[in-house]
Amino acid sequence: MTVREQLITVAILVAATMLTRFLPFAVFSSGKPAPRIVMYLGRVLPPAIFSMLVVYCLRSVDLMSDSHGLPELIAVLVTAGVHLWRRQTLLSIVAGTACYMILLQFVFA
């Protein structure tokens, strides 16, 4: 690929990204209210989206690998456990991440 073609490719990727980000706002412009079904989806989607994103982040965990996904499972439980205990977002994230790094670098190394 020439640099010119690479720049065109980047422009295409920008267009694709912006299409997905701007489309809902363009279709349901603030002039007239969005259809009720869309407002309903806007209200109820967030819990589903974040559950989906958790699965998305963990999608490449291989249960058949040497560690059988144990580091991920433990780190997820630690994150959730610390969060239920103290309800402090930053603390839960630091605890879960530190736990995962220790598991990967020392325990399952």
Binding site: L13, T20, P47, F50, S51, V76, A80, I93, M101
Partner: protein
């Protein structure tokens, strides 16, 4: 003038702590992205360019491999749309919150990545802080972390002074915490369970590289079919109280066809794959 500046400073100070998890996550992932591009032979300004104009982590990782392959505009477009399709959901969920952004609105929509969405969709802006400015700074701070990370990665190449293996879990942990909060806020749990089960089912059937679109189609179908569960207005999970409470009419009566069958196209195997952030 100085009052405006004071307002902006207050909003910036209020927004910053909320972006700390993103700061860690983005510096690590952004640096990984820059390192990856520089290892692939791209000059230092390439990661800088993609993180400024695309600003979408997953796609930027995929872009590195696309840019090394033969020129394929149509495939690039389809890959871009597939990897980014989840932003359609974010937009729908943010229609209300971003309604009154005024001149900042185009940038707010441009910068609506996973992480900015996750903060701006769920946060309760503190009393006395300008809501619009707060959300604007969340977007701006998040993007600057990503840009700085990418630039560092591009400049440093593969010289990183300590072992960062596993640090990218910060992002996963953040989504876990938010998903948990959403779960606790919604005593019906229907939306969260739909998201979890539909995604797991799609992952098992379609595999990790192409499960996101089928998962989203399944989630939409589940939420549309289960509309009765969230019957009344104002019962929204994770709602910000901005739901129109005026009309107490039950949903389902309107003339819109629900279109519950997966209206999103299910395309398998065309996306060239997930990003590999771990080295």
């Amino acid at each position: 003038m100085s009052e405006r500046r004071g307002q902006a400073l207050t909003a910036l100070k209020a927004a910053f702590p909320h972006t700390l998890p993103i700061l860690t996550g983005f510096l690590v992932l952004g640096t990984a992205h820059g390192v990856l591009m520089s290892a692939a032979g791209f000059a230092w300004w390439w990661p800088l360019l993609t993180s400024v104009v695309i600003f979408g982590g997953s796609l930027e990782f995929v872009a590195t491999s696309l840019l090394q392959a033969p020129f394929a505009p149509l495939q690039s477009l389809l890959t871009g749309l597939l990897v980014q399709a989840r932003h359609l959901f974010y937009g729908i969920a943010m229609l209300e919150r971003y309604k009154d952004m005024g001149r900042k609105k185009p940038y707010m929509i441009f910068s609506l990545c996973d992480e900015t969405f996750s903060i701006n969709c769920t946060v309760d802006v503190p009393e006395g802080v300008d809501r619009e400015l707060f959300m604007f700074f969340v977007g701006l701070l998040d993007q600057s972390y990503w840009v700085v990370g990418s630039l560092l990665g591009g400049l440093l190449g593969d010289f990183i002074p300590f072992d960062t293996t596993g640090m990218d879990f910060a992002m996963t942990a953040m989504f876990i915490v938010i998903a948990l909060e959403q779960w606790l806020k919604d005593d019906r749990h229907f939306s969260a369970l739909s998201g979890l089960l539909c995604s797991l089912a799609a992952l098992m059937i379609f595999g990790q590289d192409s499960f996101l679109i089928p998962a989203m189609a399944l989630i939409l179908a589940a939420l549309l079919l289960g509309r009765g569960i969230y019957g009344g207005e104002g019962n929204a999970p994770g709602g910000d109280g901005s739901a129109p409470g005026g009309d107490g009419s039950a949903p389902g009566g309107e003339g819109n066809a629900p279109g519950g069958d997966g209206s999103a196209p299910v395309m398998e195997g065309s996306a060239s794959g997930g990003e590999e952030a771990r080295s």
